[in-house]
């Protein structure tokens, strides 16, 4: 396993230049998640309009994997309807649990297939999923409103 497989340039890029970072003032729900084993934290603000992710922003501290993953996720889910977003999230979760057997579906995940290498590092899967799990929670809460 080559480490540059884990740390693809696009990941380091998102880490250094995160997108959708900085929480919007307006939101339907806010969710805060932490990874107790390493202390990484993330907060996301989600707004849905007519069943579509109309605003999704985040803030947090953590490693490049967790931060870049949150950055890419917010870009990816923005403008998608709830069902489309769920498909993307599930696809990403499956990729993380693939133990290196999957390359990820680029049609669904776009740049986020760069995280495929993470699935071979069990301790890092939680990092990559941090933002996605927060979104999942947020989506459930919005739905309940």
């Amino acid at each position: 396993m080559d480490l540059s497989n884990l740390y693809q340039e696009v990941i380091l890029d998102h880490y250094k230049h995160p997108e959708h970072k900085g929480l919007s003032l307006e939101k339907d729900v806010q969710v805060h998640h932490i990874n107790p084993s390493c202390g990484d934290e993330i907060t996301i603000n989600l707004t849905m309009r007519d069943g579509v992710v109309s605003d999704l922003t985040w803030d947090g501290v953590g490693c490049s994997i967790s931060m870049a993953s949150a950055s890419m996720m917010t870009g990816l889910l923005h403008g998608k309807n709830a069902a489309e977003a769920t498909v993307i999230v599930e696809s990403f979760v499956d990729l993380m649990h693939s133990k290196g057997t999957s390359q990820g579906d680029e049609n669904v995940l776009e740049d986020a297939v760069a995280f495929a290498g993470v699935s071979q590092y069990p301790a890092r899967i939680k990092c990559a999923l941090l933002g996605w799990m927060a979104y999942k929670d947020a989506a459930i809460q919005v739905h309940g409103k």
């Binding site: 480490l3 740390y7 380091l12 880490y15 084993s37 202390g39 990484d40 994997i65 590092y121």
Partner: protein
């Protein structure tokens, strides 16, 4: 005697393996757990192979032999710590040892010397591992006691300037770590023990990070209780020690209830055996106790003073090397006085998790995260750090590898 890591490594089978596609294992995660010499591994497996039976319970030969080696292990640990055998309690870990104390004290009746009443005070420090913080925090809640603590100053040492008001006359318990598992700081016990005993408080020492690495004599330290884990001291997993002064243990109520810790039992009442049995309910972790006996024997043969000297040389080399890297910030004492071989640091722009991952790709095992000391991390203003910790089998090439790895990581993550 000086420590010869090359020779010592021959006793540790794990160094025959490589990691990450053929890389030499540079194991610098000793603060989390130590590797095991053959003599420990074999002591444990020989117990199963040749003597396995329930101790203290049978009149047959296997039970006799099992009891003998189990009690010999107790004797070995006792003399290792400078205590007597009946003061040694086998637990599953330091975590259990500390919880044992917190629960036992918490259940002491008003007539018992350990009784903790509403408004009594428990004192800890800001640098405690969760295992020596949360049990006391929760005990304070249960018994409506208050929790006070010593703060950590900018040098990574305890601020003792308020000792008189922190350890006040209400204080019943002072529980602190001997050596910080994050900062490496070794705490000055004398002053704290003196003050604690002045107000009639007991002193409980979390010696997880000191017992494996320096010569300890419980009598000389003047403390009342001490806890450590076998697995950090070359011993097996699943065994820890609680040492307590005889006269303390004599009055301490039991914690776990079950077989072998009783004197008499009816459906509604029970009375307790004397220590150490009172605190060893059930069939004990016999093979692990025997393994820990072998571990302290191994450590004693090499010599704790030599081990400490060796570790401090490596620590100096490590601190020195890190200091020459302007992107590195070290947490904890910069000098080698009153500190041990645990060095935590951060690297500008590289998260510890990423640094740890990179080092791992080079075969170097360090620990990253909050090291189970969240309040201390918050005080330091960091979410996580990278921690390297040395032991007797490390040598200066391991430190070189780490220092080189840090530089390579900087290059690697700068690439994008």
């Amino acid at each position: 005697m000086t420590v010869n890591p090359a020779l010592i490594r021959k006793d540790f089978p794990i160094f025959e393996r490589t990691v990450r596609e053929g890389k030499k294992l540079v194991y610098l995660d000793n603060g989390a757990t130590s590797q095991k010499p053959n003599s420990v591994i074999e002591a444990e497996s020989d117990f199963y192979r040749f003597k396995n039976a329930a101790v203290h319970r049978g009149a047959h030969q296997l039970a006799e032999e099992a009891t003998e080696v189990y009690e010999q292990a107790r004797d070995l640990v006792a003399s290792f710590l400078g205590g007597v055998s009946d003061e040694i309690i086998f637990t599953k870990s330091a975590t259990e040892s500390l919880n044992l104390l917190a629960y036992a004290i918490g259940s002491a009746e008003p007539s018992n010397r350990f009784h903790l009443a509403e408004g009594d005070k428990i004192v800890v420090t800001e640098m405690e591992h969760h295992a020596n913080l949360i049990p006391w925090q929760q005990l304070a809640k249960r018994n409506r006691a208050t929790l006070g603590w010593f703060e950590v100053n900018s040098e990574g040492r305890l601020d003792l300037s308020q000792i008189e008001s922190i350890i006040d006359s209400k204080t019943k318990i002072v529980a602190l770590t001997h050596q910080s598992n994050v900062l490496g700081t070794v705490n000055p016990l004398q002053e704290i023990v003196k003050r604690a005993h002045e107000v009639g408080a007991i002193v409980i020492l979390d010696a997880c990070q000191s017992v494996p690495h320096m010569k300890i004599n419980v009598k000389e330290l003047g403390i009342d209780f001490l806890a450590f884990s076998g697995h950090k001291a070359l011993g097996p997993t699943g065994v820890g020690i609680l040492w307590g002064r005889s006269e303390m243990l004599a009055d301490l109520p039991p914690f776990l209830f079950g077989g072998s810790m009783i004197e008499t039992v009816s459906m509604t009442e029970a009375t307790w055996a004397n220590p150490p049995k009172r605190f060893e309910a059930g069939v004990p972790n016999m093979a692990q106790a025997v393994g820990l006996g072998a571990a302290v024997k191994y450590l004693t043969t090499i010599g704790l003073e030599s081990i400490h000297d060796h570790e401090m040389k490596l620590t100096q080399q490590l601190i020195h090397g890190l200091q020459s890297n302007s992107d590195v910030e070290i947490y904890g004492p910069a000098g080698c006085d009153m500190r041990g071989g645990v060095v935590s640091f951060s690297l500008a722009n590289i998260h510890p998790h990423d640094l740890g991952q990179f080092l791992d790709s080079q075969g170097i095992a360090v620990r990253t995260g909050h090291h189970c000391a969240w309040p201390l991390n918050r005080k330091l203003g960091v979410v996580a750090t990278t921690r390297a910790s040395v032991y007797l089998y490390n040598d200066s090439s391991d430190i070189d590898a780490l220092l080189l790895g840090v530089c390579d990581a900087q290059r690697f993550f700068a690439r994008a």
